[in-house]
Amino acid sequence: MGKRQAFLEHRIILFATTVTLLLTSAIILPFISGSNPLVLRIGTLILLGVTITIFIMGYFTILLPYRRSKHILRLFASGYTLSTIVDESVPLNKELQAASQMLIDLVNTDQLMNESKRQAQYLALQNQINPHFLYNTLEGIRGEALLGGLNSVATMTEALSTFFRYTISGVENLVTLNQELENTQNYFFIQQFRFGARIKLEIYFEEEDPEELLSYRIPKLTLQPIVENSIVHGLECKVGEGTLLIRIEHTKTRLLVTIRDDGVGMPKEVLDRIQHHLTTRSFEYVKRDEQEGGIALVNVNNRIKLLFGEQYGLNVTSEVGVGTDVVISLPKSKEERSNEG
């Protein structure tokens, strides 16, 4: 932080000493003032003024920072925030600050290993989708082959290989929205071999000229896992046609991508569980049963928050019979960088 850290413990000691001195003075004052009432009055007034000032200062420099620290620790304990414990401007004492620092180091060590962890998450994610995905796709290829139409088999295989190439290489990179959308469309194209005209994808840009929007950079594999989630948990179970809408808009500082499906929607308890994982920071979600769904959402959310800060991430709403909306909030950036550590 670079700013001077004044420890709360020192302030409390200083406060207690001053109050003791003031009280002592208050007791001694009548004796030393003797019979002169003017000295007594002036002395009492000064003492009163100093006492009030000390208490007001105590409120702002001790009580408020104490409450703030308490609030931060409570939020940290409940998983709401990781970063603010680092930013705590008035730690209680050196030891607690050292302990916080240790914790930060642990988190950082974690982040050093984060790449492998993230990779593990990606792999877990890919392991989750691959068997199903490959099985269904190969089923599609087989079906097509049986019918003898070689062109469609070739197209499908090409789409599949493009998808794998994009997914496996340079996962740590930030890519343009255009690249990410192309991959998502490619993924959707593969899925359409399974679902046919039952599912539709629409992409809507708030701007008439989307060139600017398409050049903003976002973490790789941000959209596709959510689209996959929408298809697998939303549209696949729906009777009849389903539509997936990707809506892209931007403000002065943020890029907003809404992925909306009109699938079966989530029951309240599933939504509550996902929302809990989205609002609190932990890796517990990776241990969960893969069949529960929503892992992709939490994974993307955690990556965005780690990369860009707590003010960005995912917001999910869902209703049975209506569908699911996922809003991804990202900073607007054209900067080319990798998301390592």
Binding site: R68, Y80, E206, E207, E249, N315, T317
Partner: protein, 486 residues
């Protein structure tokens, strides 16, 4: 690019608000429908001033202005327009618009100059107000527009329009639409808070649905329709569209007239003639909001008709008569007594039924015991002020049920009621009807009144213009409200 004016990011204030994400942009009307009222007042307060949060960030013009660590107290430049006007009633329009401004530096007031300025300012919005008109002399709609113009002059970040159909008539709501469009094109932002999706959808370009302190859906323009919203209010539809309920309304006859309004002239009322039969429910719908106050005054007995007569059960109306109940607007504020316990409030109008009720605590307790199930707090140990809004509402109508009146007149009963309260009210009105109470509902917006009505009387220019029976209600599709299914 969207010009974001206000953003709430993951705002949490348990147990009232949870993970609220809302963003409002310049030049749009955004709807907010609270399916239940939990957390709504707190959310609107967060839009107005900094209050301590458990978690969350608040951005104004994309700048962080408040978060969960901040202890600073400040207010945002946000105006709330609701039933209670923000204007000073005893001052002129010019003074309200130009003098009562934080930025005003001049100390000398030139009224002729201000009146001229006012004329120029009001002209594009179709208002023609004579100079030096007092706010108290203006109708509700013109007061509303003056507040909007004041918000524009003050460069207000956001205007919250809260349940305006409760005090602005349906005709005026139609007049309001182009004004809001015009103000939006000038860059103003509105949050339209209402209970009826028909009304909110008409004004808003997108809409947030709120339930149990959470934003449960962000409806974009293409989703703002009955079929989508039906999934969120199915409990309401299931409750009121039951076959037995509808049949009950279809198969009742109302022979004896309880209320007789015979060629009445008073104030804006011009030759008003109608009757309300025994056990009948009539909605008197004044789209122009001209006669409701006058008619209520006549029913209260606080005014006398210039011509014609009003009788209830053959007698002149009197508030002392225990067989008559009159429920004015803001009823819970006016008809509940905070110096009395909830139990005493419940039994307040039932002393004619039990001998020496006020002398016997045990009798009061015995009478109140079956009603304890409707309230969380101990009836004898709590005062109405300690109850939640929904519970105060319940208290008032349980009192009416106990009183068992022969005639009940209610002004805008569904105003400010969330879906669950409206369901409860409909049930209570059904019960009263079954007991044979004649009900007159005075309304400026239909809301759900048609669900409980046998007849609808439309008033135009002070007299009955159109009369519809229940089977004909579908012909009249109001601005905001539900119509019973055929």
């Amino acid at each position: 690019m969207k010009d974001e004016v206000f953003r709430l990011e993951q705002v949490s204030l348990p147990p009232l608000l949870h993970d609220i994400h809302v963003n409002l942009c310049s030049g749009e009307v955004v709807g907010l429908i609270a399916i239940d009222a939990l957390g709504l007042e707190e959310l609107l307060e967060i839009f107005q001033r900094t209050i301590p949060l458990l978690y969350g960030h608040i951005y104004v013009k994309e700048q962080l202005v408040h978060d969960y660590l901040s202890t600073r107290k400040s207010e945002y430049n946000v105006m709330v327009i609701d039933r209670s006007s923000t204007l000073v009633e005893s001052m002129t329009v010019e003074e309200n618009l130009f003098v009562l401004r934080k930025t005003r530096r001049q100390h000398l007031i030139r009224f002729s100059h201000l009146s001229q300025q006012m004329g120029h300012l009001l002209k594009p919005y179709g208002l023609d107000i004579p100079p030096r008109t007092l706010i108290q002399d203006l109708p509700h709609f013109e007061r509303l527009v003056i507040q909007l113009i004041k918000a524009k002059l003050n460069r207000t970040l956001l205007v919250i329009l809260k349940e305006i159909s409760s005090f602005v008539s349906e005709v005026d709501l139609q007049r309001l639409q182009p004004i809001l469009t015009q103000l939006c094109s000038e860059g103003m932002t509105f949050l339209y808070v209402g209970n009826h999706h028909e009304e909110v959808f008409r004004f808003a370009s997108r809409c947030y649905l709120m339930r149990e302190g959470r934003i449960i859906k962000h409806l974009l323009a293409d989703q703002m329709n009955d079929s989508i919203i039906g999934h969120y209010i199915f409990e309401f539809n299931d409750t009121i569209d039951t076959v037995t309920r509808q049949r009950h309304y279809e198969h009742t006859t109302h022979d004896d007239a309880v209320l007789v309004c015979d060629h009445v002239h008073y104030g804006m009322i011009q030759d008003l003639t109608f009757t309300v039969g025994h056990g009948e429910t009539i909605v008197l719908f004044d789209r122009e909001h001209l006669t409701i106050t006058d008619l209520f005054a006549l029913l209260e007995g606080s005014a006398q008709a210039k011509e014609g007569s009003i009788t209830i059960n053959g007698k002149a109306p009197s508030t002392k008569d225990r067989s008559i109940v009159l429920v004015p607007p803001k009823s819970t504020d006016r008809l509940l007594f905070n110096q009395l316990s909830v139990l005493d409030n419940l039994l307040f109008a039932s002393d004619h039924k039990v001998h020496s009720l006020w002398l016997s605590r045990s009798r009061r307790r015995a009478l109140g015991a079956p009603l304890q199930q409707y309230f969380e707090a101990d009836l004898d140990q709590t005062v109405p002020l300690e109850l939640e809004r929904a519970q105060r509402f319940r208290l008032l109508y349980q009192r009416i049920l106990l009183q068992n009146p022969k005639f009940l007149c209610v002004v805008q009963p569904f105003t400010s009621a969330d879906m669950y309260q409206r369901m409860e009210l409909i049930k209570i009105f059904d019960e009263l009807k079954q007991k044979g109470t004649s009900i007159l509902i005075l309304a400026v917006s239909l809301s759900d009144t048609l669900q409980i009505a046998d007849r609808l009387l439309l008033i135009k220019k002070g007299k009955i213009d159109l009369e519809l029976k229940r089977s004909e209600f579908a012909q009249y599709q109001g601005f905001a409200g539900s119509v019973p299914k055929e």
